[in-house]
Amino acid sequence: MNFELSIEQKEMKDMAMKFSRNELIPVAQKYDEEGTFPMEEFKKAWELGLVNTCIPAEYGGAGFSETDAVMIGETLAYGCMGINTSFMANDLALLPIKIAGTHEQKEKFLKPFTEEFKIASFCLTEPGNGSDAAGIKTSIKDGGDHWIINGEKMWITNAGYADQFVVYGTIDPTLKHKGISAVVVPGGTEGIILGKKEDKMGHRSSDTRGIRFENVKVPKENMLGAPGEGWLIAMKTLDYSRPLVASAALGGAQRALDESVKYAKERKQFGVEIAKHQAIQFMIADMSMKVEASRLLVYKAAWLVDEGQRNTEIASYAKAFASDSCMQITTDAVQLFGGYGYSKEYPVEKLMRDAKLIQIYEGTSQIQRLVIAREVLKK
């Protein structure tokens, strides 16, 4: 057993924290208010190697472990959960290629992301299929020497700026999950029709849209795995991506805790700092316990990936626990700040709005419990 980060990991975390404090925290509120895309910060983060952490060294990446990736994700989300979502969506859309791509596909679809700044987008959810992902209706038809994609996707992160999409569809809806397939679609391909940017409660800087594919043609070699293997690829992707998403909740929760501790030592009521009141101390104690418990789950879920062990159950623990805790902690932070917490003058109301989404995307907290129960009961 070893709970220590390595020296390099500590340095990477320090550097990511410096970036969060200097580059993200000062602009987070502006992007939240304007609902604009954090292009400048995205580029800076790319230059420093903070994004696309999943790309292996042999394809030009830094060769980070999953543990490195969650540690970086946690720290960037500490700066802004919304901006981190844009960054993280790149990895989510590159992971299926890393997991299922051939050597040629990785050369073609991963490597360019290490050579120049590019944005990727993952298209699974549809207007009528969220949690029931196996029921997606987007069709992928054999057009001879190419695939033809038709259908509509919803809540697609980075859609408006993507240089490359991974699109899930079905070769035959009657096959259910056995018909699902994944293809790589270059941005700008004819027939891609972007919807308007969604006006969201939180993560307002992240670009989220509906997107329609109308007779979009891609070469045969753009399919990941064989036709019908998409479901398996999506499930494997989740084993990698859930710890990452959970790390975003962890970062947001840690930020809410830090802001609360700082405020509790400054704010005076009844003649003393509110940190001296037991009611506040209990809230801080609960927050701290949940942050640490989330961290242990997130890092364990990532560590299992690095050890080559199946992490489905623990990854769902991490995703559900960290995101539910983040919601609770950020809500308590607003409570602790009182009226000031409800005001946009202080950062905690944004944390509370941002926290909510992490309980929803990448498998809701309820879906995580389904996964957990299934894993536990089959033993």
Partner: protein
């Protein structure tokens, strides 16, 4: 060019400093160390000069404790090529540090073309090492520079003086320059840079290796103590006209008899 950068490792700016048990230094056990912020400007300037002069190397030097080598690794992660660490107590005096740096430069086997330092360390604020080092190795030096331009064998540097005016100096290399905030914007160490840094050479020497003896110490710290806690301020309320006169009289009385300022 052979470029040397002298860096110090200082407690993180958010550290709550406490004197140690015997009062000879601060408690260092739980301290998070960082590179002295003024030294970051020196490292950045060194990297800019390196980029402009093909074939240059940047060597970072540090004298201090070896438990943590954060400052040197950060410099190498930013892009410095190699590092030399002289093991010493963290509370060495400026004279001994300068002598150790001189010895380390000689030990490197390279003739320095440019030596950069931060203008001061934010922990002890001595502002001495660059000047003492320059004197010891007989090189021209300018401290607190905010501008740097290289013209072949010479450099033009700007130094801010009282009132915001600038002094402009032209020096021949080799020389020693101490950087101030404003000269450049230090880069972040990139993540790949951090991973590369662990493979870069870090040479460790003792004080004896660089010719420093116990008798070289010019300053010995005898005691460290926290400043006395400030008493809470007093508030006076004269918003009510009825007691205005008595409050004013009370304040004047306190200023005269207690604070003794009038």
């Amino acid at each position: 060019m052979n470029i040397f950068v002298c860096v110090k490792q200082v407690p993180d700016t958010e550290t709550k400093v406490q004197p140690n048990g015997d009062g000879t230094f601060i408690e260092t056990n739980a301290i998070k160390w960082i590179m002295n912020p003024y030294d970051e400007f020196a490292v950045e300037q060194a990297l800019l000069v390196k980029a402009a002069n093909a074939g240059s190397t940047v060597t970072v030097l540090r004298v201090g404790g070896v438990k943590d080598t954060e400052a040197l690794r950060t410099a190498m992660a930013m892009g410095a090529d190699e590092a030399i660490l002289v093991e010493a107590e963290d509370n060495l005096d400026s004279y001994s540090i300068a002598k150790a740096l001189k010895g380390a430069i000689e030990k490197s086997g390279k003739n320095p073309d440019l030596i950069l330092c931060g203008k001061q360390a934010i922990d002890d604020d001595c502002l001495q090492v660059p000047q003492v080092l320059a004197e010891m190795i007989s090189l021209p030096s300018v401290a607190v520079i905010v501008g740097f331009e290289q013209n072949g064998e010479s450099v033009t540097v700007k130094r801010e003086i009282e009132g915001g005016a600038l002094e402009v100096y032209e020096l021949n290399t080799p020389c020693i320059l101490a950087t101030n905030k404003g000269i450049n914007t230090p880069r972040y160490a990139s993540l790949p840079g951090i991973m590369k840094a662990k493979r870069k050479p870090l040479q460790q020497l003792s004080l004896a290796d660089v010719g420093v003896e116990a008798g070289d110490r010019r300053v010995v710290y005898s005691n460290f103590q926290l400043p006395p806690e400030k008493p809470a301020g007093k508030k006076f309320d004269a918003t009510d006209e009825a007691n205005e006169a008595s409050v004013v009289a009370e304040v004047v009385g306190l200023l005269r008899n207690e604070a003794k300022v009038i």
